[in-house]
Symmetry: C2
Subunit: 372 residues, 2 copies
Amino acid sequence: MIVGVLGGGQLARMLAQAGKSLGLSFVFLSPEPDACAATLGEHLCADYEDETALANLAERSDVVTYEFENVPIQAVRSLSTRGPVHPSAEVLAVARDRMHEKDYFRALKIPTPEYAAVDSFDELQQAVAKIGLPAVLKTRTQGYDGKGQAVLRSPQDLAEVWTAWGNAPAIVEALIPFERELSIIAVRSSVGETAFYPLSENHHREGVLRLSLSRSGEAMQSLAESYIQRLLDDLGYVGVLALELFQAGDKLLANEIAPRVHNSGHWTIEGADTSQFENHLRAILGMPLGATSVRSPAAMVNLIGTLPDQDELLAVQGAVPHFYGKAERPGRKVGHVTLTSANCSPDEFDQRVSRLLTLANETELASHTFQN
Amino acid sequence: MIVGVLGGGQLARMLAQAGKSLGLSFVFLSPEPDACAATLGEHLCADYEDETALANLAERSDVVTYEFENVPIQAVRSLSTRGPVHPSAEVLAVARDRMHEKDYFRALKIPTPEYAAVDSFDELQQAVAKIGLPAVLKTRTQGYDGKGQAVLRSPQDLAEVWTAWGNAPAIVEALIPFERELSIIAVRSSVGETAFYPLSENHHREGVLRLSLSRSGEAMQSLAESYIQRLLDDLGYVGVLALELFQAGDKLLANEIAPRVHNSGHWTIEGADTSQFENHLRAILGMPLGATSVRSPAAMVNLIGTLPDQDELLAVQGAVPHFYGKAERPGRKVGHVTLTSANCSPDEFDQRVSRLLTLANETELASHTFQN
């Protein structure tokens, strides 16, 4: 079987790594000549809107999927006329626009921070008057890793931010005080089977994920599952879906969904019975889903901008490296490293996570404790 | 970094799968046009004796390794004049000839079953008179998976077997009664660091490995480590080395070594902190070795000849499939499946292993119990 993927980055690459063990082959469509997934399959190097390339991709593939939600929706629609594409173009239409996404949460009675669409300075003022400060102004589309966001803390910020904003359609959201950022990753197959991973606890800096920890047995698990179940069912979803949540007291507020494998689920490669990558492939191919239980509690540290000294990293006992084969560049995700707690005490686990965070230049996070 | 591999089968493929996560690239030299590793790197499709191809491989690679000991030794020697090759040609010279191998064990005071070289019918009769029956006649080179072997049970067998034997240089070995077949996998890096995996318990049928189980905490572990340590040290070995052993009472008798990643170590992908594949690469590249502890006890079932029904296999909870992308053919290893016991009781583990063995057509083995 051949799986086509829109995108050729690290998510496509890790899908292919998982897929090799299922005996699958891969074709990637991506405009980057140095796409890091390319060494794991055939690379159609073309723009996402290139109809010839899309036709080529569809023809070669038994099923098509995508690795990020900012792929042009027209490309997914075009592919859908030629063969199966999972997740669907309808899902993408929801997920790629923060306003549609929030309205959709609301329609399914999934709580969110307060929000309002904003297309003018007047609307921004009205929205902030209703929602209060602090708030955050976000582009409705194309935002990721904290890009396309501006925090509004005082009334004076509004004019300043809006002047710099340009004309991108925007949404303003209440910046709520929360205790933790969590995510839940679920999977639904093309024959309707569903499975849920244990929660991930996520730590961001400058809008970019730095650390995720598997958190099985949490009291919040069933509430998170009930929310993502509504999304899976209502969307008739096929594949892996990630739902990012804020925990505030005993409430979970939905932040956003990602219709794909998700950075906060990378720990599942070593930490769960079946990785999110393998389960995404099983799901879109209609195979039975794999078990999602935690094998041993795990932590995942992102490697951003540069790779740490390789020997120092590999010398951390139990750490499993994932280098993406990408050129180093400030802010770019060039790898991650996973630590499982199978063969160490809780204190050792904390020390090793801290060591990994230090190597990843996350000095502030490194001073926390994360015991599983 | 680019790793060159002589061979393009499943071992080369799994090396490359592991190596991708280390950010490595691969070049395979193998004469098979449909080499199953080829989709994970560049494939130089040529004979192993092809000097142009060997020069090409050496030129493209930072280090060269091989996936099987029946590669022509001249190819390894030729490559060694052009750049680093691990394990060395000297190691290969020992490992590829059963007589050299047994003499080497003896020189290092590693016990073996009794044996003798046999080049004529007279020598066969003399050897059997000394060693006794039952015994097994084996080709000195090129044997694997039970090929090139004949069992001698009665004096009448000798003439019959010898007539059919041809002229291949042979060795006759005592067929000792043993309780278990075990193997130990060790790794030594180019800077001299060593690590040992917990023992594997191996179950063969018709000379072919069917099932391996990780066995950590066994009383035999330290004895096995002491034997393989002698080999690593004396050979100045670099890479993963496997030593197959017979357990007879409180003795371990050496059967053979494999200077490479080994089928009985496939469970390390899911079951150990670092897989044998990743550690082989770390070793030949002089990186720090990864931890070898068992994360959770594991069982590996080979899929031979044909793949079982995919949906039935994937429906076994906790089973991780590894399909090699090879055409099905009687007796051919086309995949394996690993089960870890992280999320099941000992009884469930046994039931699931039995289920996998049944799916792999190992009905007799399936009735055993294997609790970890």
